[in-house]
């Protein structure tokens, strides 16, 4: 990955009226990179996208493209194209007119526009729909027209504002891959705003996780999934099981103190920035495994062992999900076979799946 910055956001602060949405934010994106801005609603990801596009004015900071400062430029002079969540297709124009509008603005000849529009229609599987009005299209088709309209002008940067959130769950899965492969084929730089973790993982080269107007962590999908830098990221990436314990850090080891539900455990520090004292443990339901209480199995080195009681069992598909009581806390653990309700069990969490933060 070439990490030479193509789009650069520096010290950006944006606010509406009295409230600040983004504070002192830095982000740089390489040419041809697909970056997902991930966060829950209200975290400022859409505001960041709109600021990059030129629709929101920053109170401080700068946005530059290929070394050129575009902070003061209007949206139409930035060489970007934005795909809206609502698609924002013009109802009074046909599909072909929608797609060709940007080219018309560039003053291309009619023949050239027609050729490019046909090309885009073929690329997006919209062949034969050129004379339809947007009102006569399905949701998926509208989404493609919106994409085609943005791609037709060959933008330097493609901005996507939750373009999949209005689609059926099934169509969404295929469109994800379509957009991703299209972006790769065209070598276009893309920024994709989403609140869907899986969507971001599947589509992006790099995920930027945002929270309360700041970047919490950025990295490859594997990075943010396996090495969350903060409890927020860990929780957002699905590590919803939360336990608090006492820890003592010595060198490259973390010693978790004995508690009512677990024996003392020594686990690797793995480069984590943890200090002695109360810690917060997070792990995913699918990362842990269940063992019957009487069974003689020793956990792998560095794994955490917990003792509890199965409170309930459900089958979400593929595996059984158990709610396990540990004292007065409850965690969720997946297993390949169902355990009985009320059964006393041991929960093993391997070292690599255990996320430890200072509480």
């Amino acid at each position: 990955m070439t990490r030479q910055a193509f789009l650069k956001v520096e010290n950006l602060s944006v606010g509406y009226g009295g409230t600040t949405v983004l504070t002192d934010l830095d982000l740089s994106i390489g040419k041809g990179e697909f970056v997902a801005l991930l966060g829950s609603s209200g975290c400022g990801k859409t505001t960041l996208l709109r600021t990059i596009a030129g629709f929101a004015k920053p109170s401080a900071g700068a946005v530059s493209v290929a070394g050129r400062d575009v902070t003061q430029l209007p949206p139409d002079k930035r060489g970007m194209a934005l795909v809206f969540q609502s698609y924002a297709l013009w109802p009074h124009m046909t599909v072909a007119q929608n797609i060709g509008y940007g080219l018309k603005l560039q003053g291309r000849s009619r023949g050239e526009i027609e050729k490019r529009v046909t090309e885009m229609q073929a690329l997006l599987g919209l062949g034969g729909l050129g004379s339809r009005k947007p009102g006569q299209l399905s949701g998926g088709q509208r989404q493609r027209v919106a994409l085609g309209r943005a791609l037709a002008i060959d933008p330097e940067i493609l901005l996507l504002d939750e373009p999949l959130s209005n689609l059926d769950a099934r169509i969404r899965l295929t469109v994800r891959h379509e957009i991703r492969s299209l972006q790769k084929r065209l070598g276009i730089t893309a920024i994709h705003v989403t609140h869907d973790r899986e969507e971001a993982m599947v589509m992006a080269d790099r995920i930027v996780i945002m929270n309360a107007g700041r970047i919490e962590q950025q990295g490859t999908p594997e990075d943010v999934y396996n090495r969350p830098a903060s409890p927020f990221v860990a929780a957002f990436m699905g590590a919803e099981n939360l336990l608090t314990m006492q820890a003592r850090v010595s060198g490259e080891h973390i010693e978790l103190m004995e508690s009512a539900m677990s024996p003392p455990t020594v686990t690797g520090r793995g480069g984590r920035d943890v200090t002695s004292g109360p810690v917060e443990l997070r792990f995913r339901a699918e990362a842990a495994s269940l063992v019957r209480n009487g069974e003689k199995t020793t956990p792998a080195a560095g794994a955490l062992e917990l003792r509890g009681q199965v409170a309930s069992v459900t089958y979400p598909g593929g595996h059984w999900r158990h709610a396990v009581h540990l004292g007065n806390q409850e965690i969720l653990v997946d297993a390949d076979r169902p355990f009985d309700q009320g059964e006393t069990v041991k929960v093993h969490v391997p070292e690599s799946s255990l996320f430890i933060f200072n509480a």
Partner: protein, 270 residues
Amino acid sequence: MTARFDLWWLPRAVVLGLIAFIIFGPLTNLVLWTVAEKWYFPHMLPLEYGFSFWQRVFSSRGNAMSSLATSILIASLTVLVSLVLAIPAGYALSRLKLPFRGLILLAFLIPQAFPNLPVYVNIARFFYEIGLNGTITGVVLVHVTHGLVYAVWIATAAFAAVDVDLEEAARSIGAGPMRAFRDVTLPLAAPGLLASAIFVFLESLDEFTGSYFVGAPDVNTLPLLLYTAGAGGNYQIASITALLLLVPSIGFMLVVERFLRADVLSKVGH
């Protein structure tokens, strides 16, 4: 059982008949007057029917046609001036987060809120001083102050019904603000603007008080002709003129029903 049913129909029929009479009675009377050659008390219906008064109204010597032309000219100019003012005003009111938006919209109502007569008498006095009395320009200006409230309110609603996303989509792929307005916002708001234009046109066509004080006797519009004919006891001429004025109103009703969508109407005054 059936007897009770029959009894129930009686009051209903009477009420419906009464309503029909209230609505259509005067209209029937008007239509009858247009074709009455001879009609006087105590006869219920005209004694003779004919079209001789139509000939008089439309003859080259009658001034109905020139009044109609004047009225249409004034109405067209009023529409033009109103739209030129209402399109930017309506757009600004719908898009920009102006403080006191409601107050600004209310301000356009002020000319309607006061009694017409003293307002127009004062305007007439002022126009007389600056030489606008008795001119087409003067009458157009009076009609614009009157029509602007409809024009601005409906234009604001029409622009508010156009989603900002649609405009921004054009901006994001290279359209300047004016170009985006021309290619996206204006065509999408056009039906609402057309309705407001027709509203203003009809208001101008029907307007009497202002035209009377500012225009008469030099500028003779159709309502002024109607007034003169009516005041002179010339009911046939008055009725025919009134019928002429009715035609555009009915046409307007049909157009409004066709073009004014519910989402525009629901935003009027907001």
